[in-house]
């Protein structure tokens, strides 16, 4: 009798403890429930690694395109070493499986096609990352905080983040027009107000340049179009040097740009500004802007 009682009681407590730790959140595929605190997490985008690092959690695997340097330095300093699971566009399922994860965080834009396969390896939280806005990214971080059992820490970190951003905003001149773009050898892509970088610029009280009718986050722009947009400040991430901007410098039309005339063209790390998104990335970008714009 006593034995039975203990069995029933312990079962009861186990059940209670499960329901106590079970969290349900809404991800891009509907409701997602996890009834344990994940210990081995694999993330398939940099923004998710950023969210984990923000609350001192280290992933066991990152889809880092096999280039560890692509992970933001601030994030790397927190999370220590990890295993690369290949490219973000085609992560290696075999390596993910071999890491025996208990949670996978995937990007709806890149990994929807393999969502079912990922689910067979481990519970998969699927959220927007690529093409997400700044506010979306903070929301995704809050969801990740809940799922990994660090809700409070994440909320605190987000609050601190808002404060940090407000402090940066105070240091920066207000309402000036700042436009970010990534330059390749043969093309310039402006990140519009709908992009992640555009959102960070807006959050800092700066203005995005009016890039025209387009509703897409990234817009390929020619020299003539750039002159028409004519931003006050031009922040460029060069994927290669010399980039197309360096080639344009020799063209007479380039000197018409007010940013060129006033020497308001600056360079930033394209990886940080274009590939990394998240709490720590936004703070890094804001620091870059303060370094550039505050004399």
């Amino acid at each position: 009798m006593k034995r039975w009682l203990s069995v029933i009681l312990s079962t009861y407590f186990i059940l209670v403890s499960f329901t106590a730790t079970a969290v349900t959140v809404e991800d891009s595929k509907g409701l997602f429930t996890l009834d344990y605190q994940p210990k081995r997490i694999v993330v398939l985008e940099f923004s998710f690694a950023d969210a984990l690092a923000a609350v001192d959690v280290s992933p066991v695997g990152i889809a880092d395109d096999k280039e560890a340097d692509r992970v933001l330095k601030e994030v790397r300093d927190v999370i220590g070493s990890w295993t690369s699971v290949g490219t973000r566009s085609q992560p290696s399922m075999e390596v993910i499986a071999s890491l025996k994860p208990d949670l996978i965080i995937a990007d709806i834009s890149r990994h929807e096609a393999v969502y079912a396969d990922l689910q067979k390896i481990a519970p998969t939280l699927i959220l927007p990352s690529r093409r997400e806005t700044y506010e979306d990214s903070l929301k995704a971080a809050a969801i990740i905080g809940k799922v990994i059992g660090k809700d409070q820490a994440m909320q605190a970190r987000l609050q601190q983040h808002r404060k940090t951003m407000a402090q940066y905003a105070q240091q920066l001149p207000q309402k000036i027009e700042v436009q970010f773009g990534v330059a390749r050898d043969d093309a310039l892509f402006l990140h519009t107000k709908d992009s992640y970088a555009g959102g960070v610029i807006h959050a800092l009280g700066l203005a995005n340049a009016e890039t025209g009718r387009d509703d897409t986050a990234y817009r390929q722009t020619g020299l003539e179009q750039l002159v028409a947009i004519n931003p006050e400040y031009l922040i460029i991430g060069n994927y290669v040097t010399p980039s197309i901007i360096d080639k344009w410098r020799n063209e007479p039309l380039f000197s018409v740009l007010q940013a060129a005339r006033q020497n308001h063209i600056y360079q930033v790390n394209p990886n940080t500004w274009s590939r990394c998104r998240g709490i720590m990335a936004a703070e890094r970008m804001s620091q870059d802007l303060v370094d550039i714009l505050v004399p």
Partner: protein, 320 residues
């Protein structure tokens, strides 16, 4: 005798590649544990073998064989060594449909992509058919097909330039890849296997067509009907493969060529042999794509092009 040994070697190579594909990847699985990993759910490699490598190998096998078979049929009908299913504009039509779908419905479910691509293929085939009609020469058919393919390709380029980054997934699909293809995709492919015996049945009439229309007709072949059937089967084979894996370039062109060098031009031998060669090429391409720089996976379509293009150049230089 030479034929038998050729088939024996090809079959052996296929088997060897299947086993190699099972063993190697980003994670190597020892040979003696493969059966156990396949059957036992608790085996640590169960996912890798059962859910991942095995269905992918079967898909590579089938797609390689079907694409090559389609290529051999088209070459048999057009009687031009440069012919391939690509000149029917079918895979480009599928590509265009897929890109339109991904561009204008970015939030739409990705599960529908194979169906959309399939519809695109068949639409492209119907357009070609309407333009050429039943009694046109094969040259007209080929040139019309090439022109249409170029048109579709330029539409794809246009869309990709207008909406550059939304299309990244489409770009991945357009290079042709076996990544993420599993049991679901395999089950979509299976119904199309009925086309294979139908194609093999056309072997004899295709031999006769090779003699020229007049000879073939006088020997009792309905040349137009055979041509139509062969092309329709080639369209079906290509469309189903492209819908699953994206257009895997060069396979339909190179495999029949290579096979013709090995077993000659008789379709009774050529058609089955080319299926084996196609399967071997795609299995090899995917093996290289997966193991060249793990954990990075390259699209198999790039590998077939890397193998295919130099082979073609070599062929051209030798034939001088």
């Amino acid at each position: 005798m030479r034929l038998v040994s050729c088939f024996f070697i090809l079959g052996f190579l296929t088997l060897l590649l299947i086993i190699t594909n099972l063993l190697f990847g980003a994670v190597s699985v020892p040979l003696d544990t493969i059966v156990d990993a396949f059957l036992d759910h608790t085996n640590p490699n169960h996912f890798t073998i059962h859910e991942y490598r095995f269905p992918r190998i079967i898909i590579a096998l089938l797609v390689g064989a079907m694409m090559a078979l389609a290529g051999a049929l088209v070459q048999g009908v057009i009687r031009n060594p440069l012919a391939s299913p690509d000149i029917l504009g079918v895979s480009h039509g599928a590509g265009l449909a897929a890109v339109i779908y991904m561009t204008f419905f970015p939030d739409a479910a990705i599960e529908w992509l194979p169906l959309v691509a399939l519809l695109g293929s068949f639409l492209a085939a119907i357009v070609l058919w309407r333009l050429c009609g039943q009694h046109s020469t094969t040259v007209k058919l080929a040139i019309t097909g090439v022109a249409l393919a170029a048109l579709y390709a330029s539409c794809v380029d246009f869309l990709m330039l207008v909406k550059p980054l939304e299309i990244n997934n489409a770009l991945l699909w357009l290079t042709g890849s076996l990544w993420g293809r599993g049991w679901t995709q395999l089950s979509l492919l299976l119904p199309w296997l009925v086309l294979i015996p139908a194609a093999l049945w056309l072997a004899k009439p295709l031999n006769l067509i090779h003699l020229g229309d007049e000879h073939a007709t006088s020997l009792g072949t309905h040349t137009n009907a055979v041509r139509l059937a062969a092309l329709a089967i080639a369209v079906g084979l290509t469309a189903s493969c492209v819908a699953i894996c994206g257009p895997i370039g060069f396979l339909g062109l190179v495999a029949p060529h290579l096979t013709r060098k090995l077993v000659g031009g008789r379709h009774q031998a050529l058609l089955p042999a080319t299926m084996l060669v196609g399967a071997i090429l795609l299995l090899l391409a995917d093996l290289v794509a997966r193991t060249i720089d793990p954990p990075i996976e390259l699209p198999a379509g790039i590998m077939t092009a890397i193998i295919g293009a130099p082979y073609f150049l070599w062929l051209l230089l030798r034939s001088k």
